[in-house]
Symmetry: D2
Subunit: 334 residues, 4 copies
């Protein structure tokens, strides 16, 4: 159960609620929210009578929660969360298109591709400055220098920027330079990083772990939400499977399931989700048709020279034609 406090409650009101929870033998969790504070209860085996709390001063309402995730679920917030960044609104009726190079390789490459993806219709620029790589011997990104290049690309194009943070240190740098902080698949259960991201007051995009169930993913989201950051976006990027025909198996069913379980917007990454250039357009279209809030696409104008994931990048021209299709499918699928 969640006990939502009035906006103007006192510290004393809150303490009474907490005490009441403890006296029942349960554990209270203070959950700061954008509007007000709520108190979550854990440890109860069955439903708790609401009147034990609604009669206390400063309590606005109680919400029954049947899932292990509380703040991420539709029970807590029936209406879609909308996350606004620049002109883009994640979670609205309109599909957002995020595009850019997998990695920031140089100032020239990034500025050039940034202009091209803008011209092709993208609304948010992607580009990795801190790259978590399977091998310690692979290119690990330009780091702070990469963030500065992204900031310059934003000034030039007006596009807001999304880029990944890989630890506490890079998280604060990314939060300073970028508009959306990405937490990657490999860090989906790096709970320290999640809590730290929850203490930011910046939009965060949380990618699904390699083989995370939807419940685990929503519980990871809960780590961020419970710290008070509700500017949260999820990103499906394919899961591990037994078939090597694609790099990952893109789980579009997850998009449709999450629409009923959660109020959070869901982005689809068909580039990492398939690992093959030729599959990016069909999978982006499919994502759009089944209700994704956004697609995020790797774009490179010289894929053979890309320092990271060249085989999955499409060209700026291909992006342009894809965006045209997506705008039509978006209307048709409504």
């Amino acid at each position: 159960m969640l006990i939502v406090m009035e906006k103007l409650h006192t510290a004393e009101n809150l303490e009474k609620v907490m005490q009441q929870v403890r006296e029942l033998g349960y554990r209270p969790h203070v959950i700061p929210g954008a509007q007000s504070v709520a108190v979550g209860i854990t440890g109860n085996l069955g439903p708790v009578p609401p009147e034990l709390f609604t009669t206390l001063t400063g309590v606005k309402e109680t919400i029954r929660v049947t899932k292990p995730y509380k703040l991420a679920g539709r029970e807590f917030r029936p209406r879609n969360t909308e996350v606004r960044v620049g002109n883009a609104v994640f979670g609205s009726e309109n599909l957002v298109v995020i595009a850019g190079p997998c990695a920031v390789e140089s100032r020239e490459q990034t500025l050039r591709i940034a202009s091209e993806v803008k011209a092709a219709g993208a609304q948010v620029l992607r580009g990795g400055a801190f790259k978590p790589r399977t091998s310690p011997y692979s290119f690990q990104g330009l780091g702070l220098e990469g963030l500065k290049i992204l900031a310059e690309a934003r000034r030039l194009t007006g596009l807001p920027v999304i880029t990944e943070a890989v630890d506490a240190e890079s998280l604060h740098l990314v939060a300073e330079y970028a508009d959306i902080v990405q937490i990657g698949a490999r860090n989906m259960q790096n709970f320290s990083l999640l809590s730290e991201a929850g203490r930011l007051r910046k939009p965060v995009m949380l990618k699904r772990g390699m083989s995370a169930t939807l419940e685990e993913w929503l519980m990871a989201a809960e780590y961020i939400l419970t710290e008070g950051n509700d500017q949260l976006i999820l990103c499906e990027r394919g899961v591990r499977s037994f078939d090597t025909a694609t790099r990952n198996m893109l789980d579009l069913g997850a998009v449709a399931v999450l629409a009923s379980l959660s109020h959070l917007p869901v982005v689809v990454d068909p580039s990492h989700g398939t690992g093959k250039r030729g599959l990016v357009a069909p999978m982006a279209k499919a994502a759009c048709a089944c209700g994704a809030a956004a697609v995020m696409v790797d774009v490179h104008d010289r894929p053979a020279e890309a320092l990271c994931d060249g085989p999955q990048a499409i060209s700026p021209a291909e992006l342009g034609s894809l965006v045209n299709s997506l705008r039509q499918i978006e209307t048709a699928a409504r």
Copy 2:
């Protein structure tokens, strides 16, 4: 390598080719085709010089094949295979809609739903007469009686009928009564059944096995093709995954990958692919947007009473509205 014979070759011509293959230390495989006969070679480690065969009388051409599947691959047949059944053409530009009850439960139920799915825009009627069930204690279908009901539904509605065969005996019954013979996921590597289906002269739809790789699936298709039946349709119906949020994980990436690997049309079954009514429409739309040749949908007008898979059936009204969306997405996604 495939050595394609002239349409009017003699038995002697063919024997010469076979002998040549054997003399090289390889194994020849005579592969009857719709147009003419081909000879496949196995056992060779590297490429075979074409001129060893193109110089023989009766040989039309040789085709280099780099995949373990020969007849199912694009190398062998670059253009899409089209399978015509009634007014439906699988593999053309237009999406085919297959709909009907999971199981034929009674004459009344089937005729009623058949009329409704026709009115809603379906072009092919589905309905199981032989049901392979995980438990021996579950409803196993009406068998021959079910086939007769389906035939009556076809007379009434004009819709061609697809239904599953589970062994050699039911295969021949199904071939007699239905327009398309379905081989289910559990029998995808029942090689005796596949070969038997290859000897039919009726369209066959082969569902992907529970955890079959695309290569294994195409090799299973090869068992049918190699017996001379090239009226073959594939059907993606979700694969096994670690997540219990959906019954199976619908692998739409497979649709896009198969479009490049194979000339065979690919149907998507969002009902079995997700197991949840609420996901059928979004996944059908996604399938359409990424280029599926058809969608196959469980429809029931009284799902709570369904003897099989009620939770995944949509209503005839929902089908009608879905078909409308699909017609628009089809155009938008082209």
Copy 3:
């Protein structure tokens, strides 16, 4: 619930029981058994009061069954099933060793290896005559000729023989020539074949499907048991996974779980379970240590020339040394 009839019940007694079940709105299933007949009930949502049946003439007892599989579960039969073939007893305290070539390739090869595996300590001879192969172009086995060779090997060595059946036709041939009929992984849910095998009065070994859950596997076993054949052995042979380091992932946890869920003996096949010769001995030892009833090992004296699965075959000498280790581990692990 299972209603077990007295050994000497009348047809009328049985009919009364069936009628009683139907009057409660449930479905009765007559299940022939080695000792007597039982009636299974399906369709009930909660427990059924036993006294409704124990008071009827000819009823011996009722057994409450909480699992979807009835005859395969420990609830129905608390004591281990023992399957005797020659000197080997599957399900006793002593590990059975099955060994032989993956495929019967020729009379000479088979007789030679048969003698060698006997000398090395094997108690049962394996060898495939009907080979289900992923590709239609691979060696499919010698068929009936292979069965005759196996029968000759048995005469020569005294070892009972296990070999695979792939369809109804080969099933009856195998039952005629072999001592144990194997149903392979790809046919685990070929329910027609399972039912046919259930009507044999010969031991059957049912391999686990590529990605079958333990419950699905036990339900497949139920198809055989429910036809009255309780000479049934299960065989774990590795499941499909995301890692290509081994051909399959050998699930030894399944051996331990099945020991609590079921009374059926479980064989482990480390050869197909790993696909790598070097892993056969360590995995066979592990299988023995965690309580497998038997191990089944591919042995070839000229693996480079093997027509099937050469890379996973160990030599007769390696088998000898493995059997020695197994005999010691068996004692140590008790």
Copy 4:
């Protein structure tokens, strides 16, 4: 390729080697080692002629490396790595037994269980002070207080202690109080944490990620080794699968494969690997039989009261009897 420097090389010698690598167009990686420094080369597509380096002053030898992991592979170090902690030697002929509560819950609970596992034959004490939990509402461990309790348990029993670190901060605390630092499955690709652990001069145990391939796991190990910490132990703890019969699927084949790929010792955790008390003993025995360097077992004397993973804990008495079996199997399996 790895270029191993003489123990007494000069900074100038090293710089010459680096320069030579760069002139060939490749990237040099200085890899500090226990004995001496090596230089790894990446970016080369084929083999590099050794004489380009063996002729330089200060170079001891070159080692050809065909795998993406260099320091973790047998090519680099053919002999087993041995990690000594207290009386335990991981990687020797003798199985090490690690046991203790899943979580440090209180001083009393920990000291009590520590004495009991020592008496039962354990050589290392486990116990979580920092607990990475799927839910933010679950018990997260006692933190620093827990570390102090573990240190006290070590003083009392003489057993060295292993416990998990979850981020940079806890890593340094754990390194101060414990004998082995554990990196958990969820952090297997938390590359910042791995590098930080690589800069410790304390043994580290790296658990396999939820669905990590062996190659990804060894690449993660490489992040630690490449920073100069070669006191590294791997731990197999089960991977994600499609079957819910066990919490994870314990991949014992991995133990045998790693024995050929890597020189690092491999521990098996049958408690987390199965999630079921009844499977711990059989799986520990199996792990021993196939060559694991150690087993790590959750032990609790009041499992019903455990704050974490009670259902998978065995009792101290069960541990005692298990250790006896393991000592016998160890000898039998050699």
